[in-house]
Amino acid sequence: MRITMAHGSGGQATSELIESIFAKHFANPVLSRMDDSGIVPGAGSLAITTDSFVVTPLCFAGGNIGALCVCGTVNDLLMSGAVPKYITCGFILEEGLEISLLEEIVISLADTAREAGVLIVAGDTKVVGGSGGLYINTTGVGFVPDHYPAVSGALCKEGDVILLSGTLGDHHAAILSARMGMTNPIRSDSAPLVQMVKNLMESGIRVHAMRDVTRGGLATILREFAAASDVSLRISEKLVPVDTTVRAFCDLLGLDPLYMGNEGKMIAVVDKEDAQDALRMMRGSTYGENTAIIGTVIKCESHHVFAETKTGGTRILSALHGEGLPRIC
């Protein structure tokens, strides 16, 4: 059975769709009231984020758009030092979408929300003409505990140590592999980093900045930190974890893992005295087993990000130009 324009009309078909798919899998006391707004308790420093998910294909090795939209939203809140509590989901469904596929995505979304400890408290469904596509918009809400250290890309200090929670490029490579029909075992790493961030923030470790490594890759974030904090950064490419198959995939297409997106990896910039503790903490957290110390913050006239290459030379990481076209020759 497929989505038709009738499902978007607001009438009987819409109610049935909502009951049988969304309400069924997202059930919680707030949502079940089916009011126009979710009324929820909460006070303090509010963190709000919004994101839209337009990935194709909808399902790929290691995940789907449903799991992705929770991870992306939750991770954005976490990186600001907030504890994620609630999300909303606005679905735009294209006519022709298989309802069984929609349900699979919704179940995945619900499972990931449960893992991340967030409630889905409001939603919307619209249907447009098309050929079976699906887009999701989310808003995420969290609260910043008073006892958490303030984190910001502008707070990196000379001497700070940079940690990366795992291998680069997995998600981007999985999506491209799916689109190109490339046979390999690469899986998206989409994951909610709730436990890792909680461990870091509650440990007393002096965390100065955190960011999840999404579109634009590690290089983009490091450049942003350097500019915001008025420092330079220096990393060693030999220390940056990249899965062997992902590395070969990148070589085949002329892509650079330092500029590729992940959906379940983060960097943390911490005081150098706390570096080993942070490493242990992140390695001991879910999704952090490959955490590595990859570099340091240095003082320099420029805001450059220096990378020591595997040959022992130095290159400066520039901005990502263009859309990262696969290069062949």
Partner: protein, 347 residues
Amino acid sequence: MSVDYRTFLREYDGKPIRIMEVCGTHTRAIAHEGIRGLLSPKISLLSGPGCPVCVTVTQYIDTLITISKVPGTTVVTFGDMIRVPGSTQSLSEARADGAKVEMVYAPYDMIRLAKEHPSEKYVFAAVGFETTAAVYADLLGEIIASEITQITFLTSLKIMPPVLEFVCKTNSVIDGFLAPGHVAVITGSDVFTPLAEKYHLPFAVSGFSGEEILLAIYALVKMITRQEARVMNVYPSVVTPRGNISAQSEVDRYFEKTDAAWRGMGIIAESGLTFRGEYKRYDAGSFGLYEDVGTHLSCQCGLVITGKKSPEDCPLFGRLCVPERPQGACMVSSEGSCCSHYMNRGD
């Protein structure tokens, strides 16, 4: 190896040496691995005409764009070609205007496209040096065997020895060449020997990892200081003196040498490959594409490509000419000298 070649290269204090590399993949690898910083300031690396996208003249791009706008025809290309500016626009801009342009990873993907869309005509932007010419020759064999008639090629195929000779004749400051390792897989390393002997310059055939490039530079510096003008194969696990004979004869079967226009250098005799004889039926209009109209009056691509100027010497570099708004081909391709310099030196 008993010699510490890294220390030798870092501490070299003899006569200043200028080495030219002539392969876009070397240009990129050298920038990407930060090789220049590992060399003594007395050893300079120049970038030569080794990026096939960068040496393609504007008339070729303009012709591709015209073809892409013909109903029922799709232009197929590798990624980098799509952003090279012709005299008025690039293929990517033409695509935004509605022209049909597809990108593939390998020329071989054309066969699948043709079978999936039997009534569509495909024109492949066949750009490259000897390495890729062999791939096109192999593809053509398959196209003929499969009796596919809807694929043709607009070729901008070039070969190295004539342009190397051009550089040797016009640029007297080069002391030695880093020779392209994968071109040599096809041609054999002996192809550089006549040039080494005629111009008394050493050639080191090099692989593409940072370590292999350092070894090849070491070999060159040593040969230069000993005044040895010969070809040394520093990539012996892959390159042989005579190369891949059957690949050479495949190329020879379908292509013949013709004059070709190189951006910034004009026409160099017998430096290109176009379809021969009965195979001209696979050609989409490649012969005689010689016009080269610079997009900006101050564009120095021609001088950069021949190693006469470095990217920083161009008044447009990093100001009017950046990867987002390339004024010339050297900035478009990630293997172009200007783009490589820009991307790895900060902005």
